[in-house]
Assembly symmetry: C3
Homo-oligomer: 109 residues x 3
């Protein structure tokens, strides 16, 4: 058993949810926020048998494409990242970040 922690852009959340259900994966969805852009995103907890790891990673890769987004960033200021400065920064967003964690024990009650 492995626990996959997968953080995706909200634009891809519904598509990923549907594909996971269709493929028979069991999972839990948690609302979260990006640390840098402070925009809402989604964290999936997906407990899988290790042999399903390649098909899960393929599913995530096919449904989360990185895109370029123009943002105004004020890196040294507590204000939300949306505040204006002269030259907007092109930041790659969308995409997914995936951590596969080892599991010592798995139980269902």
């Amino acid at each position: 058993m492995k626990l996959c922690v997968c953080i995706v852009h909200n634009r891809d959340r519904n598509k990923i949810t549907d594909e996971l259900v269709r493929a028979g994966f069991k999972f839990t969805v948690i609302g979260s926020t990006g640390g840098f852009l402070r925009e809402g995103n989604t964290t999936f907890l997906i407990g899988i048998d290790d042999e399903d790891r390649p098909s899960l990673l393929r599913l995530i890769g096919q449904n989360c494409k990185t895109r370029e987004q123009l943002v105004n960033v004020t890196p040294f200021d507590a204000a939300p990242a949306a505040a204006f400065i002269a030259t907007p920064l092109k930041v790659p967003v969308g995409g997914a970040v995936v951590f596969i964690l080892p599991v010592d024990q798995f139980e269902r009650y």
Copy 2:
């Protein structure tokens, strides 16, 4: 030190919370959503010493019983799982799903 990630049905959340406090476990509560039924549920993060693992699992097992729930499921559709189809499906819900994760380092500040 182990980190227990435990997902329970909202019906069992208050009972589990009280039992954990009464038993002296320290824990954090996160609101979450089931991937399949898209109903709210609760994810507990419970950092434990490994020797407390059997008593934690016993506490969870005693307070989360699986029950049968009738749901209308439209598996290949993005719409929430509550949409109607002819024959409702009996789905076992309400138990708990428990992942015990290894911890490399634990710190308190």
Copy 3:
């Protein structure tokens, strides 16, 4: 790659967020609740290269100081911990709880 799960008091959340961005750490923020006091707190997921572990722990330690808080506690009652009893209890809060988890595989898409 390691996944750091760090639970901090809401009073320290903005300070920690700013320091993590300033130091170039990438992270995700999740709203959570304390099991005992039932007050809102914040869970950070911070994926790091292992060599950055000491600087991350130093950053967390410097920005999360434990303080004493007076609370009214009714330990054997389901009601929120805010209910009144005769002698309030001094409970150390603030501070941070940090779990460093091993990661089998990390992917970015």
